[in-house]
Point group: D2
C-alpha cells in the first residue's frame, strides 16, 4: 500500500517540529509539504527552521521547501497537520477542508464548534462521526478534527477511566506546566529562572471546558457536555517537557483508592483504536511510588503517549486525590493530532 | 533597657542560619548562645557552619562557640529559638521549658499538643494565653510556643482575613514549594533539575490540620478547631525561596472577588501585634497583575514577612480562587518564630 | 546643594530599570526624565514598564511620563544615563552631547572611539580627561563616557591589581554569564533549561579588547592599548545575575598565589574615586573557601559593586589561575555607569 | 555463541544504573551479578535501587539479588564493571583480578598505575597490551583496565585527532560539568539553583594528567606521557547530563580552523575498534552552527557515545579555540567502560 500524502502546517515552530519528528518513518503517512510563514518561502526547511529537539532533524525534511499554508501548495496532501496559531488557523483550516483535505488541528480555533470533534482516540473515538454533520452543514469535502489543549489531554484520559467506572461530579485541577507548552521563544528565561508563573493566558478556560466536551455524549447531531464541574488553576514551572496536574475528584459512586488505581491501570482503548500505530501502550500507567509521576523521569513512558498517574489516595473533601503526568508536545499536541489522523484513516474518512 | 539574652538551637542548619541573620541588630534580643550537633562542640560557629545565605554571616556569630542544646549551656538565655529536627525537639524543648526558658519553636514536634499555642501573631495572638494552661499542667516555669509549617503560614494569613469577613466552609490548596523548605542538603539537584516532585513527606497532613487550629477559638482551656475542611496537594519545584499556594475557597457568605481582594488588602494585625519589630508591614499585599505573585519577584515583600496574594477571581465550583505567596524561611520559619517571641515579650511572658 | 537633574534613556528595559532603582534616593542626582520607545510616549512609566526587579519600582518613577530620547525632551537634565541599544545610541548620544549634556553610556556604540573614555573609576579615572579631547575635536559642550561590557568589567578590575603589582603578559578568560546580561526577553527559557549556550554574539571580541583599552596609558591625546593578549570563550548559563570568569594569567614578574591574593585584597580605588557615593567598598573581596565565588551567594557583595575573587592558585601553563565574579547589571552596567557619572561630577565635568 | 557472564559492581549508584541500562540486550554480555553495599544484601535490586534514569529499569535486573563485591559472589562472571568509589575500588578490584576476573573500572583508583591501561578504545587501544605487564608483575590471572574521568574523555578524543594531524604543545581547558557527574545524591539543589560552583574536588588534577597518559606512547613496558601541558578550570553547572569543555590549543604545526574541523570530523577509530558494538558512530561530530554544541540538544548524539565539537575558530593566544561536548555518564563513564570491555574481548583478553 502506498503511503498517504500529508502536509504539516506551521512546520517550523515547536509543535510543527514535533510533527516532523513523529512523522519520520511513519508506517502510513508520507510528508509531501511543509508550510511556514512568508519570510521562509523560497527557502528550505533546513535553512529556515531553528530545530530545537534533541532528536536530529530528518534528512528528508531538511531539503523540503517552505510553502504557504494554502490548499494548492500542498502537493496533493490528503491530510494536513496544523500547528498554526489560533487566529491563522481560523482562516486557513476551513479553506483546506473546503478543498477536500482532512485537517487534524492542534489549534484551539475550532475546538468549541458544535460540529467539530475534539478527539482523544482512546477516550471518545465515536465523536469522530461529527465530521459527517460538519461536512453536510458546511458543504465541505474535507473536514476538521481537533485535539485538546495539552493540559486537558492527560487529565481527560484519567477522568475517562474514572467516569466509566464511578461517574464524575466535580473536579479540582491544578497544573504545573512545562515550558515547551508556550512554544518558542515562549517564556523568557528571566521570567522563569528561580521562579513559578501562576498564570497562563486562556488556559484555565480551556481546562474547565474541554474535558466536558470530550467526556460528553454524542446525541444525534450534537454533543451534550458532561455534567460535572471543573475548577482549574494553571501554573508555569521550569520544566522542559511534561505537564503535571493535581486532581481532586468527587465521584458519583464510591471508590476506594485501590479500586480507582485498578480502574486506571486497566483502562483500555476502544476497539477501533487499540492497534493504531501511535496509540498509547498502555493508555495509562499507575505508579506505586509515593513521589511519582515526575516529569523528567516519566514523560517518555510509552514513547510519550502514555498518561502516567500516581499518588491515588483519598481526598479530605472529595473522594480521590491523584497526580497525572502527560507529555505536552507529544501526547498533548503533535502525537495526539497524529493519532487522530490514524483514527480518521481507520474510520474511512481519508480517501 | 538592656537586651533580652536569647539562644538559637540548631543554629548551623538552614533555618538556624536564618535565625542568626534575622537576629543581627535586633532591637530587643541579643544572642548569647548558638547550639549545634556534637561534632561541632568545641569549635566556633564560623568553623562549623556552612553558611548558605547571600547576606554575610554576622561577625558576632562567627566567633561564638557551638554549644550543646541544654539549658545549662545557654549562658542565661531567657528565650530559645528552636530550629531543631522534630525528633530532637521532642526531647530538648520540654527540658528547656522546665528550666524556665521560653522556647519559640519552628519544629513540628509540639504543634498538635492541646496546650501548646500554634501562633501567627497577626492571626491568633490570643492563643498565646494557652501557655498558662501549659505551665500549670506541666509544671513548667518556661513555656513552648510553635509557629506553623511554612506552607500553612501564608495560606492561614489569607484565610484569616476571609474567615473574619465571610466565614469559611471548604478549602482546596495546592502548593508549589521552594527548595529551602527541605533544609540543607535537602533535595538532591538531580531530583529537581528539569523536574517537579509531587510529594513532600508529611506535608499534606500539616497543611490540612494546622490552619484549623490557628483559625479555631480558644474556649476556656482549649482550642476548638475551626470547622472548615481542607484538601491539600503539596509539590516541590525548582525555586530557591518562596512557597506558592493555589487556593479555591468555599465561603459561608457571598463575596465578589473585588470584595475579597479589598478585605485581604485591608487586613490589619490585632492591637498588641501591630507595632512589634518584626511584624509584617503590611500583613497582606494584593497584586493586581494577572501573573502575580511570583516567588522571585515577590518573596521579599515587607522584608519577607508580608503575604502576597494575587489572581483573586471567581471559582467554578467554590466561591473564590486566589494565589498566595509567602517566604518560607522568613515568614514561614525563622521570622515567624521571632515574631512569636516578640509577642510573648509584649504579653509579659518573658521575664 | 540642590541635586543635579538627570535623565535615564531607554528606562523601561532591564538595564534602564536598574538605573531607575539605583537612582532612587541618590544623594547627588534627581531623575527628571525617563525615555522609552515611541509606543510608550504619552503614557506613564508605570503603565509602560514591565518591571522585573525584586526591589519595588520607586513611586516617583511610576507617574513620570515616558519621553522621547531627545535633548529638548529631557527637562533640563545635565546628565543622561544611556541604556539604549547600540544602534540607537550611535544616533542619540552625540546629539545629546552636542546639546551640552553629559552622557554616561552603557551601550557599546562609542567604546572603541579613540576620544571616548571607557571607564571604571576604580581602574582608570585618569582616562576621563579624554572628554576634553572629545569636546575639542567634535565641538561638543557635553560629552560621552562609556562603561565596559559586563564581562570585561570584573576581570579588568582584578587584572588592574595584578598589572600594577606584577605586570601582565597573557590572559585566558572563560566566562559563565548570567541571563540578565542578555536583556529582556533575552534568552528563551527553552534554550537554557537543562542547558548551556557556548556562544554570545559579539562578546568575545569585546572581552579581548576592552580590558586592553582600560589598562592602557593615556599619552597626550590618546590611549595606548595595554600590550598583553587575551583569549576569551564566553558562555551563557542558567543564572539570573552574576557573571563568573575563569582566568589564567601570565605575569611579567613572579608572584606566588598568596602574594597575588594579597595584592587583590588590598587594591584600593585611586584618590578622587575612593569616597564617591557608589564606589565599590571594598573594590575586591578575596574569598578563601575552595568553592567560591558563587553567583547566588556572592553577587550582592558590596551592594553589587564589589568584585569577588577566589581560587587564586598556580596555573600549569601560565602563572596564576583565579575565578572572578561580578554583578552584571549593577557593577557591569547601570552601577558602573552611575559611578562614572559621579566621577565626572567630582572632576568638574558637570556644570 | 553463548554470552559472556558479567557483573556490575556498585550497581545501585548512578553510574551503576547506567551500566545496567546499557547492558540491557547487549549482544555479547549477560549480567549474572549485581553488587551493592551491605545494607542491600539479601534484598533485590528492585527493592534497593532508587532508579534515576528516564529509561525504565530492565525487568531482569529488578529481581536480581544485591550481592557483596567479592569474587566468590559473582556467579562466575568473567568480567566485572566497576562503579565503586575510589577507596573501595582500591581494595576490591585487585582481589577480583587476582581471582581471574577482568575488571573494567570507572573508578579513579588505578588510573595512574604505570601498568594499568587508561583506555579510550577510539584513542589508544594499543595501551590495552599493558595488562600483560600488569599480570606478570602482579601475578594476576585477571586484569584491571580503567576509563578516564568524565571530563577528560571528550577532550582527549578531540585532542587525539588534533595530535595526530598537527601535534600538541599546550592546552587550556575550562569545563562546565553536569550534575550527574557528582553521583547521587551528589550536588544539593540549594547549592546549584540559580548558581554555578567553580570547584570540583580533585577534578582539575585529573583533567591535567589523564589526557597525557592516554595520548602518550607505550614504549616497551611503560607509557611515556605526552609532552604537552594542560591547564584546567572545572565548574559545575545546572545541567542534568553532558559535560562541555572550552579548549584553547597550541599546536606544534600550523592549522587553519577549517583544516582542524575537517581533521576532527574525519577522525576514525583504529581497526580493532571500529566495529565494536558500543563504539561511537561517528567518533566525532563537528557542528557548524555558531552556538553548538549544547548539552540538552547534543549529548545523545550517537547514543551518547559520540563527541560533539563546535565553534572551531582561531585563538588570540594559541592556535585554535573549540568547544567539546561529551555525555558524562555514557561516553564518560559506563559506556566508556563497556566499550573497554568489548575491546578486551576483541583482543582476546577475556577467556
Amino acid at each position: 500500500m502506498s503511503k498517504i500524502p500529508v502536509a504539516v502546517l506551521a512546520a517550523t515552530g515547536s509543535v510543527g517540529q514535533r510533527f516532523v519528528q513523529l512523522l519520520d518513518n511513519h508506517p502510513w503517512f508520507e510528508v509531501v509539504a511543509l508550510t511556514g510563514s512568508e519570510r521562509g518561502h523560497g527557502k528550505t526547511y533546513g535553512e529556515v527552521c531553528r530545530w530545537l529537539l534533541p532528536e536530529p532533524m530528518p534528512d528528508w525534511a531538511r531539503m523540503m521547501p517552505v510553502l504557504p499554508s494554502e490548499a494548492e501548495s500542498l502537493n496533493g496532501a490528503r491530510l494536513a497537520f496544523s500547528a498554526l496559531p489560533a487566529d491563522i488557523a481560523r482562516q486557513v483550516e476551513p479553506a483546506l477542508a473546503q478543498a477536500g483535505i482532512g485537517v487534524c488541528s492542534n489549534a484551539s480555533a475550532y475546538r468549541r464548534e458544535p460540529d467539530v470533534p475534539l478527539l482523544i482516540p482512546e477516550v471518545n473515538p465515536e465523536h469522530a462521526r461529527l465530521v459527517e454533520v460538519q461536512r453536510r452543514r458546511r458543504g465541505w469535502t474535507g473536514w476538521i478534527t481537533t485535539n485538546p489543549n495539552c493540559t486537558s489531554t492527560g487529565m481527560t484520559i484519567a477522568l475517562k477511566a474514572l467516569q466509566d467506572a464511578f461517574g464524575l461530579k466535580r473536579v479540582f485541577a491544578v497544573s504545573l506546566q512545562a515550558l515547551s507548552g508556550a512554544g518558542y521563544p515562549g517564556v523568557a528565561s528571566l521570567d522563569i529562572a528561580d521562579n513559578v508563573i501562576p498564570f497562563i493566558s486562556g488556559e484555565e478556560d480551556k481546562v474547565e471546558w474541554e474535558p466536558r466536551k470530550m467526556l460528553g455524549k454524542l446525541e444525534g447531531e450534537e454533543i451534550r457536555l458532561a455534567e460535572f464541574g471543573i475548577s482549574a488553576h494553571t501554573n508555569r514551572v521550569a520544566v522542559t517537557d511534561g505537564h503535571l496536574v493535581c486532581l481532586s475528584v468527587e465521584l458519583a459512586g464510591r471508590a476506594a483508592p485501590e479500586q480507582a488505581a485498578a480502574v486506571l491501570a486497566e483502562y483500555e482503548a476502544p476497539a477501533p483504536v487499540a492497534d493504531l500505530p501511535s496509540v498509547a501502550r498502555p493508555v495509562i500507567v499507575v505508579r506505586e511510588e509515593e513521589n511519582r509521576p515526575q516529569p523528567r523521569l516519566d514523560r517518555m513512558t510509552g514513547r510519550g503517549m502514555t498518561t502516567v498517574v500516581g499518588r491515588v489516595r483519598p481526598d479530605a473533601l472529595f473522594d480521590l486525590r491523584l497526580t497525572v503526568l502527560s507529555h505536552n508536545t507529544i501526547r498533548g499536541a503533535a502525537g495526539g493530532s497524529l493519532l487522530n489522523a490514524e483514527l480518521m484513516v481507520r474510520l474511512g474518512y481519508v480517501s
